[in-house]
């Protein structure tokens, strides 16, 4: 293996390494505020692939860029969003490098009652906003991570939170990605979380050799240079299946074929031995036979390195192939989330159904099912179902009540959909009012939703 595995992983396999909670990213233009990502929740687990699927304009790429810290003005991540990175080694390293921005949560929580915090003036949240049924389940950490640190006397610059141990000797904790900036941002981006983009040609600089570009990453993040870096770059190219890597390392991107370029980009992403790899349509620009090669490569790398992969695509075939878990996005929201098999076998949200039915070959002959209309631009707070105008199962309350994610599958508690049709076993009216009740709280909690 080209790069040594990092020492030990934290916790068991099922512990997520990244948790995304209520992520909201908006673009503020003169004309309107576009809520490209509007309250998204999901996890990335080591050794697993979480798929994000949706049509263009659904907010998939902005979600990825938010996690990478690549959202540029006029866009920004709103208050109340939280993306936590749980990795003990990283927490230790960051606590060491940024002691001024490290907070011991135990010290903050001392003498405070999380339940009472809900009543604090600066806090607009209710327990359900944190995903809890009851106020007693909340912890001080939830308030901190959701951006209510001010109420607790925490500086908004603080980004490393210790849950076990002390600031000098942290045992466990998390890094709040949405609060990173400057050097801490750069250490996370590329070093711990790396990204592979759709078009390999735009991710590579045409005037530097492929080797140069990999070596640059090695120098920045791992302090390697000269011959050592070149050797490492050659090893990386070999690890991603580029034959004759010694010669290739000195070639320019235009001398590589499309598939080879994407391999080189993956080699760059792996240069710093990241924990998480975000793939934004990495095979869309490639032919199927080359796509098959890249998917196989990613699967091998994932097994070898226990990578947590977030995989974005609009191709349902690719999603079925790579994912362990799938989130279906529509107009900035996750409308359905499930393990891959139940999602394809029993899609619950009308949008997911429509999406699957419009793929040629899923059902026999005849005309293809279509979804009338186009994805709307989410330019106002969601006070209704954004899919309602195109939904074949729309009924009156859809225009007035914003659905929240509810469990929809008895056999699989993790299968959720945001649709007023559910929970199915309740009468329609009761279901609608339960959505209404839970949603009001979300909006209040959002506070900042201007």
């Amino acid at each position: 293996m080209a790069v040594e595995q990092t020492a030990e992983r934290t916790g068991t396999r099922e512990e997520p390494i990244v948790t995304v909670r209520n992520l909201q990213t908006a673009f503020f233009t003169d004309k309107e505020v576009i809520r490209a990502v509007d309250g998204v929740n999901f996890e990335i687990v080591p050794g697993e692939t979480v798929g994000i699927v949706g049509e263009s304009g659904s907010g998939k790429s902005v979600t990825a860029r938010s996690i990478m810290g690549l959202v540029d003005s006029p866009g920004r991540i709103l208050e109340g969003s939280s993306v936590r990175f749980h990795h003990t080694d990283t927490v230790r390293e960051f606590a060491d490098r940024f002691p001024g921005r490290t907070v011991d949560l135990a010290a903050v929580a001392e003498g405070r009652d999380p339940e009472a915090l809900f009543a604090h003036d600066a806090v607009g949240a209710t327990p359900s906003a944190f995903g809890y049924d009851d106020a007693s389940e909340a912890s001080v950490a939830d308030f901190v991570a959701a951006g209510y640190g001010e109420a607790l006397g925490i500086d908004p610059e603080d980004c490393v939170f210790i849950t076990e141990g002390t600031v000098d000797d942290p045992l466990d904790g998390f890094v709040e990605i949405t609060r990173l900036s400057g050097e801490s941002q750069r250490a996370m981006r590329g070093g711990r979380i790396a990204m592979v983009f759709q078009d390999p040609l735009t991710s590579l600089n045409p005037v530097y050799t492929v080797g140069n570009q990999i070596e640059e990453a090695l120098e920045l993040h791992r302090d390697l240079s000269g011959r050592e870096a070149t050797r490492e770059a050659i090893d990386l190219l070999e690890a991603v299946g580029i034959p004759d890597a010694r010669r290739r390392v000195n070639e320019y991107p235009h001398q590589f074929s499309g598939g080879m370029r994407q391999r080189a980009v993956i080699a760059m992403a792996l240069a710093c031995d990241p924990e998480v790899l975000i793939c934004d349509e990495p095979t869309t620009a490639l032919d199927v036979t080359i796509q098959a090669q890249i998917l196989e490569l990613l699967a091998d790398l994932q097994t070898d390195r226990d990578l947590g992969i977030m995989f974005i695509t609009h191709d349902m075939g690719v999603i079925a192939d790579v994912s362990d878990r799938v989130n279906v996005m529509y107009a900035g929201e996750v409308v359905e989330s499930a393990a891959v098999e139940p999602l394809f076998a029993q899609p619950r949200h009308p949008y997911t159904r429509g999406l699957l039915e419009s793929i040629p070959g899923r059902q026999e002959g005849g005309r293809l099912q279509t979804i009338e209309g186009t994805v709307p631009t989410p330019n106002e707070p969601a006070t209704y179902c954004r899919f309602a105008p195109r939904c074949p199962e729309r009924f009156e309350p859809c225009d007035e009540v914003h659905p929240v994610s509810v469990p929809v599958n008895d056999e699989d508690g993790d299968h959720t959909a945001a649709c007023l049709l559910y929970p199915e076993d309740e009468p329609r009216e009761a279901a609608v009012s339960s959505h209404e009740a839970r949603d009001d709280s979300v909006r209040e909690q959002g506070g900042e939703r201007r």
């Binding site: 199927v288 036979t289 098959a292 192939d321 040629p360």
Partner: protein, 445 residues
């Protein structure tokens, strides 16, 4: 399943009344006519097929296989280097001037990217009306009326006449492109990846529209695509292209259900199915398609073929070793073509380490994990000596002599396979060899 090789005329001319387009040994090359340009790019390298009236013929293949060039040659947007394209008996490659313009009314093309194929400075009405203006059809009033009706036909509104393309979504723009091709009431339309740039739900709408139009106006389509699920849905027959050649051609369902050619096998198995429970065995092809400027000798697919015929004396070698030998040959082929800079040459002359690395390093990388029996080692050593002398061509020659077989020596014939006039371009359909499916099972099963 093996049959006698057949002549490449798929049906006797005139034997089938329904044939609309007959393509015979069509070749389209780019470049190659200048003194220093090197050999031409053989984008389409001798294809023959028929298109029947009212059918949809699919044309699939990877990028660079020549499918778009073939489509463009059929509507005379590219001129053929050789061969014939007969539309109802007239060879359109010979037409020019007035006759060509007149004939063009009959065959139109829809382009892949609706963003770049519509002029953003013209209104939708002007765009759709332009062919009528060019061919001077009717009075201006009649033209406008006809355009409005067409907008209606393709699912746009008549009021859209005065809008500009940027005001429309991708799916609607593609509808504008389709309306434009319909203005002159053609019989034959080339659809060049008409839905590749669209989202899946919009794609479904456009496909439905194309099917409706075909029924309403009795159109004949050549449908070019790389998305095989769309092809399976819309096409009556499919031609699979690789490196300028048609590898297999036949009725859609049969070709998908029981592919005969090894390339069709590999291509179909590479498509991820929208079904997580499917456990279909994927054949991952090695490497990328060769450069059409330097196509391999023999069968075009021979450099990547998973069931390539192996010489008898090496029949016992295991697949891993074959893969290694393939990799070596691929590396040498690339090196042979890579440009050496002056610095590289001087470094090599001085015996310094050049960026090309030593052949020993490559052998180490390629054969490190496999055991190499002595009879294989001999040609490998001989090849290594040539590479050390800087002569990759001779090294490749040695490897070809040792490990090559009929696949790399001569081009295959077309064989009829299956029950319904399916044609496949592969040596393995010959009686003396085992069929592709059988060997695939053995090597990949």
């Amino acid at each position: 399943m093996s049959q006698e090789p057949v002549e490449t005329t798929f049906t006797e001319p005139g034997a089938d009344e329904d044939v609309m387009v007959e393509v015979r040994d069509l070749r389209t090359y780019y470049g190659g006519d200048s003194m220093f340009g090197g050999p031409p790019v053989k984008a389409v390298d001798g294809v023959s097929f028929d298109i029947k009236r009212g059918e949809t013929l699919g044309l699939v293949g990877e990028s660079g296989c020549g499918k778009t060039t073939l489509g463009r040659t059929l509507v005379q947007l590219e001129s053929a280097t050789g061969g014939e394209v007969l539309f109802d008996g007239t060879d359109v490659t010979e037409l020019s001037g007035k006759q060509l313009k007149q004939w063009r009314r009959n065959s139109q093309i829809v382009f892949q990217d609706p963003d770049s194929s519509l002029n953003d400075r013209m209104t939708v009405g002007e765009i759709v009306r332009e062919p009528l203006d060019v061919h001077d059809v009717g009075t201006p009033r009649e033209r406008r009326q006809q355009v409005r009706e067409l907008l209606d036909t393709v699912g746009l509104q008549r009021e859209h006449y005065y809008r500009y393309p940027h005001q429309f979504s991708g799916g609607q723009r593609q509808r504008i492109g389709i309306a434009r091709t319909l203005t002159l009431e053609p019989d034959f339309i080339v659809l060049d990846e008409p839905v590749s740039a669209l989202d899946v739900s919009v794609q479904a709408e456009v496909i439905n529209l194309l099917e409706d139009l075909q029924e309403e106006f009795g159109l004949t389509y050549l449908f070019i695509a790389h998305d095989l699920s769309v092809v399976r849905h819309i096409c009556d027959r499919v031609a699979v292209m690789y490196l300028g050649n048609i590898m297999e051609l036949g009725p859609t369902e049969e070709l998908f259900a029981d592919p005969a050619n090894p390339y069709t096998h590999s291509l179909l198995s590479a498509i991820p199915e929208p079904d997580p429970t499917s456990d279909s065995d994927r054949i991952t092809l090695y490497g990328t398609p060769p450069n059409p400027r330097h196509p391999p000798s023999g069968c075009p697919f021979s450099t990547r073929c998973p069931v390539r015929i192996r010489p008898d004396e090496f029949a016992h070698l295991d697949d891993e070793l074959w893969t290694a030998i393939n990799t070596l040959r691929e590396v040498l082929r690339e090196r042979e073509r890579a440009d050496r800079t002056t610095t590289d040459r001087i470094r090599e002359l001085l015996g310094r380490e050049s960026r090309f690395g030593t052949i020993d390093g490559i052998y180490e990388e390629v054969f490190g994990d496999v055991t190499v029996p002595p009879e294989v080692e001999e040609p490998l050593d001989e090849a290594a000596d040539h590479v050390r002398a800087g002569d990759e061509a001779s090294a490749l020659e040695v490897l070809f002599e040792a490990f090559g077989a009929v696949c790399e020596a001569e081009a295959p014939d077309y064989y009829t396979v299956g029950d319904t006039d399916r044609e496949s371009f592969c040596h393995r359909h010959g009686d003396e060899y085992r069929s592709p499916a059988e060997v695939l099972d053995e090597r990949h099963g």
